[in-house]
Amino acid sequence: MTATVTPSSGHQAGAVEKTDNGGARGRRFLPRIPDRIRQGGLPYLLLLPAVVLELLIHIIPMVIGIWVSFRQLTQFFIRNWGNSPSAGFDNYKVAIDFDAPIGQALLHSFLVTCAFTVLSVGLSWLLGVSAAIMLQENFRGRSVLRTIFLVPYALPVYAAVITWAFMFQHDNGVINHVLHDQLGLTDKPSFWLIGNNSFIALVIVSLWKSWPFAFLMLMAALQNIPRDLYEAASIDGAGIWQQIRKITLPSLRPVNQVLVLVLFLWTFNDFNTPYVLFGKSAPEAADLISIHIYQSSFVTWNFGSGSAMSVLLLLFLLLVTAVYLFITSRGRKGSDV
């Protein structure tokens, strides 16, 4: 490191002199970087930490995860996992053998997750876009409402979901208290955390958690639509619905494309909500795939099979994302013309 302090002969002498004359004092402690690299390589050098971290945090674990999916890694080998016996494609075969119980259960949880995701993302978007449009007009209390709408997004997930779990309780929960005791809508108090209703509970909590994000994104996007478009439209006699259909929605399109994709990926892989609501073992109606894989890996200690399931899930999500991006980018080109 101190090499730079000793003035060296040769073509870099000028640079040393310059540092010694001291615009930037500290610079002489840095290793000398040839101009060629400084100009061409600097961007790469600056990227290096990110690349290293990306490797350490994402790529390497992923590669090991894929490797594990081909191993027979159970409690018998966990201590010396590097030497676990090879399983070939067995883990994958078990996972996609839909006639056998393990494959069947995986397929079931996959379908539950698909239904859950479509409902939760669809409703989040609908709620988000409605709220964003409603709050475009300036009225008293608008900023208060905006703040309130964003509260779920700001709360720590664990605290929020556990509060929901309390509210959904059969005997003491406020939801049954309102639906049954106060409004008399049900014959007897319902179960929300076990049985088939658990799916509804899951969608409600997920919706509550993710719609503010849609609202926030769409509200920002709405700010960018020039007001005169609406003025011109209303002079031409367009009603509110026509304005929304012809101006608002098309202008929101690029934001919507990203928003829906992000919400889809987050919701599909949501682990916190079902885990906090239901614990290690979710009711069958709400057995989301993230929990299902967690159970295979960490509760029943079959890491090979759990990894195979997550690799399959990853492939599915990559496929969906690719198809989605392909369709939406084609649509965009079409509309631009």
Partner: protein, 436 residues
Amino acid sequence: MRKARAAAAVTIVSALAAAVTGCGGGSSEGGSNESPKTLTYWASNQGPSIEADKKILTPELAKFEKQTGIKVKLEVVPWSDLLNRILAATSSGKGPDVLNIGNTWSASLQATGALLPWDTKNFDAIGGRDRFVDSAVASAGAEGKDPSAVPLYSLAYALYYNKAMFKDAGITKPPATWDELVADGKKISKDGKWGLATEGGNLSNNIHQVFVLGKQHGADFFDKDGKPTFTSDGAVAAVKQYVDFMAKDKIIAPGNAEYAQNQSLQDFSKGKTAMVLWQAAASTFASQGMKPEDWGVAPVPVPSGVPGTGAQTNSMVAGINIAVFNNTKNIDGAKKFVKFMTSDAEQTLLNKTYGSVPPVKAAQSDPAFNASDVKVLKDTLATSAAPLPQVANESQFETTVGTAVKGLWADAAAGKPVTTESVKAALTKAQQQMTP
């Protein structure tokens, strides 16, 4: 996408640490003596809080340091984290020197090879195997193998009942058979009050209860080769009998089906439920405002009315064991520490504090363990408790069968019929999900 990889990636994060440090695996003989002056100890959360545990254990560790010059670094780990922490430590080889484990995990952890086996030589170093109650040692590893841990605090199930509620219903003594329990329960279950409580959403609790009922029906859930036999007639009858307390006998409140956080103990303390099957509940009742004279303790009912072995088993052997991590750098110190923790004096003191029963015979003579509630637990442990199946995939058993029972509770709570067929179907599915 980030989380898509979660399951695969998280598995690996711990594994990665191992790869980076070049560890993973070692000799089966146990650790070395590289750092003889220090030990790390992971204690499980026993008392009302982690802070309370620290307060209880710290003076004892100081005593140990004074005796041996070995400093013990204590970490109290909550139950919910303990198993995953042990798993991560196992895969990385970087664990504590000494740790507590739940005794039902013994065989599973034994299979990993991460824990020091307690052969005759190691047992002799702590005073010999004979010092311990047999059933407690039997719950410390698979049959025919050296135990993977040493019993530390022992527990058993008992029937806790509310004296005032019994008196109001005209019941003079606690039930000794299940028929009596159902009859008593029916007398009590009206006007918002219920006879019995359960924790339907708690998988482990489900397992503990159906295991004991299974014993009473002559079923073991595993055969001699360790293969699951969840669908045997006895197992089906046991599960059905248990869920029928709600479905057919209607002595358990439907709301219990979703309990998993000890809500049944709150109901008991509030006088909503008259009976609960639990291990050492005294301190919880006290913390919820019940006076010791408000409740009574009796052995868990058995078909004949007199607890014993075989079909008269009335509890699983519950408890906490202390184990030594194979990778320890202070093997001698670790054994000394186990010896200290299982010494007569420490056993008396710690078990008294935690309301558990000492698995060390000599410590059991202290009068504290002859008070009514602990005496019931002690006698149960000595005469009529059996360890859960000591098989390597015990944790799979807890998940699959525990979940099946949880689903049946949900059916019962929703008023759906629970039949021999539906119980058998649920158990068949559980058995099919067991991977070899």
